[in-house]
Amino acid sequence: MVQKKSKSSVAERQQEVVNSLKKLGTDIYDQLDQGVFPTINMPSRSTENINYDPVTRQYILGERVVSRSARNIRHVKPFTQLAWAAMFSNELTTKKKTSTLRDVYYSAQAYEMTFTDQQESNNIITDLETVTGFSREDFHIFPEERSAIFGDLTIGYTVPGYEGKQLNLTSHPDGVLIGPALTTSEFINTKANKVIAIEKGALFTRFIEENVHNKHNALLISCGGQAPRQTRSFIRRLQKELNLPVYIFTDGDPWGMHIAQVIISGSANAAHLRDLNTPDAVWSGVWASDIVEYKLPTDPLDEVDIKRLYELAKDPRYQNDPLWQREIKMFLKIKKKAEQEAFSRYGLTYIVDEYLPNKLEGKPKSS
C-alpha cells in the first residue's frame, strides 16, 4: 500500500487566495485614500492576447494588459461590481461557505449591485479570476454541473463541520460527487496507481459494476461530458500530488477527442487561469483507428463533425503529439464515428476485459 500524503496544499492555497483578495482591496483603498481614482490592471482576455504555450502545454494570456479605471464613466460600474465580487468571494472563502454563479447573481441584489443578467455577473467573476490568477472554485464559487469519482482514495475533509473526518471513495457505489467538499479535501492515502477519466456516466457505472477499479487499480472519474473546471483541476491534483498517470476514454468522434484535449491542454476560455490542465494525461480512446481495428458499429460523420475536425486540425493544442493529427486524418478518411457503448456488440464485459487492458498498455488489439 502506497502512502502518499501531500503537505497541506489545500490550506496553503486558501491562504494565498485570501491574501490576493486582501491585496486587491488594499490597492483600491490606498488609491482612494490618496485622493486618486483607483485603477485595476489585468491581462487582456481578447482573442489576440490568447496564446498557446508549448511549455505549460496550455493556453495562456499574452503581454497585453487592460486597465479599468473608476474615473471612466463606462468602467465605474464594472469596477464596483468587481470590488463587490472580491468582497463577496472574500466572505465565502474566509467563512468557508460555497456558492454558485447563479447564487452570485442573486446575492449581488442584496447589495443593490444588481447585474443586468447572469452573463454580466459571470463576466465579473472571470475578471476577478484574471486579476487574482485564482479560479472561481478557489473563491468557493462552483458551477452547477457535477461529475463523480470512485476508487480507493481516502480523503480528509477541510469543510466546516467535517474537519478531520475521512472518507474512502469506494464508500458509495454510485461514486462520490466532485463538489466543493471533495475538491477542498486533503489526500490521505491511496492504493490506486492510475486514474481513468470517462466521458459518460453510463460507462463509469458499468466500470464500477465490472470492478475495473480493482482489476486495474484505478480511480474512476465520470466527466459528465465536457469536464467541469473543478473536475479538471481535481484530475490535475491527482496527477501532481499522487503521481498517478491519467487515461481518458471518450466517444470516438471529434467532440470526444476534444473533451480529452481540454483535460490535457485546457480551454481558451480559461487562458487567464493556471493549474486546470493535466498535460501528461493521455487520450486512450476511442480513436478513429480503434473503430477500424475493433470493427465497431458506427454512424457516419455529419457536416458539423467534419467541419469541427478541420478546425481541430489547425488548433495549436493538436500539434504537439502526432497522435492527434493521425486520428483526425483517420476520422476524415473513414468518415465514421462510434460511441463508447458500441463495444457492447461484443458482450457486456468485452470493453473491460479486452479493449481496456490493451489500451492501457498501449498495445494493439490482441487477436
Binding site: 483603498y29 490606498d30 482612494l32 483607483p38 464613466i73 465605474v76 468582497m87
Partner: protein
C-alpha cells in the same frame, strides 16, 4: 316640356347649400353655430380694443329625434354693440355685414352669424332674440327676428326698447337650434381651449347643457394693435371689384382713380402703370368699355412695379401675446415663438407667426400636436389637408434633433386680409406657394431654436446622469475596498466626486 326658371335669393341659396357653410350634420352644426356667434362677439370687442368678456350658455330645451335635441344658445358679449337700425339686417339678411372693408377680421362673408340663425330657424321654427346697446345711449334695443328665406329679408316679430340703467354695452344673441351636443362636445371644448390660446386677453365662460362650467380666464389685458382699414392692392383686384369701384368713384381721370382707390399707388406709380398699360391718364374711368376693364384687371396683375402691400391692415398676435396664450393653455417646459415679416400672395398681405412648445403640459401622442389658427380662429377640421400639416410633415426634423414621439406642439397662426380657406366653413388653408414658403421658413426658425434647447437639455441630462453614476458607485467602491483591506475608516471620496463634476464637461 317647358323649363321653369327662378331666381333664388342669397339666403335661399345658402339654405339649400348649408353644407358648404359647415352645417353638415347635427353635431357639426351645433359646433359651427357656437363658433360663428362667438367670433362675432370677439370681433365686436376687439374692434374697440376692449378685452373680450364672453358668456356662452347652451341649455337643453327638448328632445328632437333619436340622436338630436333642441338647445337654446345664449351668447353675451361686451363688444361694440350694434346701432338699432342695423340690427335686423345684420342678423336677418345674408351677405350683409360691416366686414367687407379690407382689414383682418374673423368674419369675411357677412354670412356666419346669420347662417347659424337660419339653421336654428329651419330646425326649430322659432325667432331669434337680439339684444344690443352701443353703450353711448341709455337705451337697450331688443329685436325678435326671423329671416324671410326666399326674399333674404329680416322679419321683425317684435321690437323693444329697454332702459340702460347701468351703461351696459354689448350684444346678446339668443336662439334655439337642433343639434347633437354629446357628439359635438369634444370639438366645442377644444374650440374654446384653442380660442383662449390665441386670445389670451379674453375671458370666456361656457355653461354646457349639463350645467358644467368651463372658464378660460385672461392672463393679460394687452391686446394686439387693431388692424387699419386699407384699400385693395392692385394685384388682388378682379373685374367685379374694379367695376364696383368705377361705379362709386368720384374721380374723373385715371391717375386720380388709381391713387384714390388702390393701396400703395401714388402719383408716379400711377403714371408708370398707365404708360405700361397704354391708357391716357386723363381718361374718365366711367368711360372705360367692358373689354378695357378686363384688360385693365389683367394689366394690374402684370405690372411689376407696384409696391407690396403694407401690413398695417393686419393684426397679428405678436410674439409676446402668442407666448402668453400658449403658456396659459399648454404650460410647456420650453417655448419658442416667432413672427415672420409681412409677405404677400396675390396682392393680399399676410403674416405667419409660430410657436413651438416642448414638454410640460404638452401631451406625448406619438406625433406633433398641431394647432392651426387663421385670423385668431382655431381651425379644427381637415388637419391633414392643411398646408401647415404638409409643411410640418415634409420637414427634416432629425436635423433639429426633434422626433415626433417627443411631447411637441406646433402653433401656426396666419393672418391676412384674405385667408385662403379651401371651403366656406373655415377649416383649412389652401396650399399657396407663398404661404407654404413662409410657413416653412418660420418652422425652420422655431425648430432651430428648439434644436438648440434640446441639445443643451441633452447635455444637462447627460451631465446629471454621469454625476449620478459616480455618486452611486464611488461610495460603494470605497466601502467594499475598506472591508477587503480590513480597515475601519472608509476613504473620503468627496473630492473625487467634485472633480467629476468639473471634469464632466470636456469628456465625451
Amino acid at each position: 316640356m317647358a323649363q321653369t326658371f327662378e331666381e333664388i335669393s342669397a339666403s335661399d341659396f345658402f339654405y339649400r347649400n348649408r353644407d358648404i357653410a359647415g352645417f353638415t350634420n347635427p353635431s357639426r352644426a351645433i359646433f359651427v353655430a357656437i363658433r360663428e356667434i362667438v367670433e362675432n362677439s370677439l370681433d365686436a370687442a376687439e374692434s374697440q380694443k376692449i378685452p373680450p368678456e364672453i358668456f356662452i350658455r347652451l341649455s337643453f330645451e327638448s328632445e328632437a329625434t333619436k340622436d338630436t335635441q333642441i338647445y337654446k344658445l345664449h351668447v353675451e358679449d361686451n363688444g361694440c354693440g350694434i346701432p338699432p337700425r342695423f340690427i335686423p339686417s345684420a342678423f336677418g339678411q345674408i351677405l350683409y355685414g360691416s366686414k367687407y372693408k379690407l382689414k383682418q377680421t374673423r368674419g369675411t362673408f357677412g354670412l356666419g352669424g346669420k347662417m347659424s340663425l337660419l339653421y336654428g330657424q329651419v330646425t326649430t321654427h322659432q325667432a331669434a332674440t337680439i339684444t344690443s346697446s352701443t353703450g353711448d345711449t341709455n337705451k337697450i334695443y331688443q329685436f325678435k327676428l326671423m329671416i324671410d328665406i326666399q326674399r333674404n329679408r329680416p322679419i321683425i316679430i317684435d321690437r323693444k326698447v329697454l332702459i340702460n340703467k347701468d351703461g351696459w354695452r354689448g350684444t346678446i344673441v339668443e336662439f334655439s337650434l337642433e343639434g347633437d351636443y354629446l357628439r359635438a362636445m369634444p370639438k366645442i371644448l377644444e374650440y374654446f381651449k384653442q380660442t383662449a390660446m390665441v386670445n389670451p386677453y379674453a375671458n370666456l365662460t361656457f355653461v354646457d347643457p349639463k350645467g358644467r362650467l368651463y372658464k378660460f380666464t385672461r392672463v393679460t389685458t394687452i391686446m394686439p394693435e387693431p388692424p387699419k382699414e386699407t384699400l385693395p392692392h392692385p394685384y388682388g383686384v378682379d373685374v367685379e371689384l374694379l367695376q364696383r369701384l368705377i361705379a362709386i368713384t368720384e374721380c374723373t381721370n385715371m391717375t386720380d382713380f388709381l391713387r384714390r382707390h388702390f393701396h400703395r399707388v401714388g402719383e408716379i406709380t400711377a403714371q408708370k402703370f398707365l404708360e405700361f398699360s397704354g391708357l391716357t391718364p386723363s381718361k374718365n374711368p366711367k368711360k372705360l368699355a367692358h373689354e378695357e376693364i378686363v384688360k385693365l384687371t389683367q394689366n394690374l396683375k402684370k405690372f411689376k412695379d407696384f409696391l407690396p402691400p403694407d401690413a398695417s391692415c393686419l393684426s397679428p398676435l405678436g410674439e409676446e401675446l402668442l407666448r402668453a396664450g400658449i403658456t396659459k393653455e399648454l404650460n410647456p417646459e420650453y417655448l419658442v415663438v416667432h413672427q415672420r415679416k409681412p409677405s404677400t400672395y396675390g396682392g393680399h398681405p399676410f403674416i405667419v407667426e409660430m410657436g413651438i412648445a416642448y414638454g410640460g403640459g404638452v401631451p406625448k401622442t406619438g406625433s406633433f400636436v398641431i394647432y392651426r389658427f387663421a385670423n385668431r380662429i382655431p381651425l379644427l377640421y381637415d388637419e391633414a389637408s392643411d398646408v401647415s400639416f404638409r409643411v410640418i410633415g415634409s420637414m427634416n426634423w432629425r436635423r433639429y434633433k426633434v422626433s415626433p414621439d417627443m411631447p411637441i406642439a406646433i402653433v401656426v397662426h396666419l393672418c391676412s386680409t384674405k385667408v385662403p380657406y379651401k371651403t366656406v366653413g373655415k377649416e383649412f388653408l389652401a396650399d399657396r406657394a407663398e404661404i407654404r414658403r413662409e410657413i416653412a421658413n418660420e418652422l425652420r426658425e422655431v425648430a432651430r431654436q428648439l434644436g438648440h434647447f434640446l441639445t443643451r437639455q441633452e447635455h444637462v441630462d447627460r451631465e446629471k446622469k454621469r454625476i449620478s453614476i459616480f455618486s452611486k458607485y464611488l461610495p460603494r467602491i470605497a466601502q467594499f475596498a475598506a472591508i477587503l483591506a480590513q480597515r475601519e475608516r472608509i476613504p473620503d471620496i468627496e473630492k473625487l466626486l467634485k472633480s467629476v463634476q468639473k471634469y464632466g464637461a470636456e469628456e465625451e
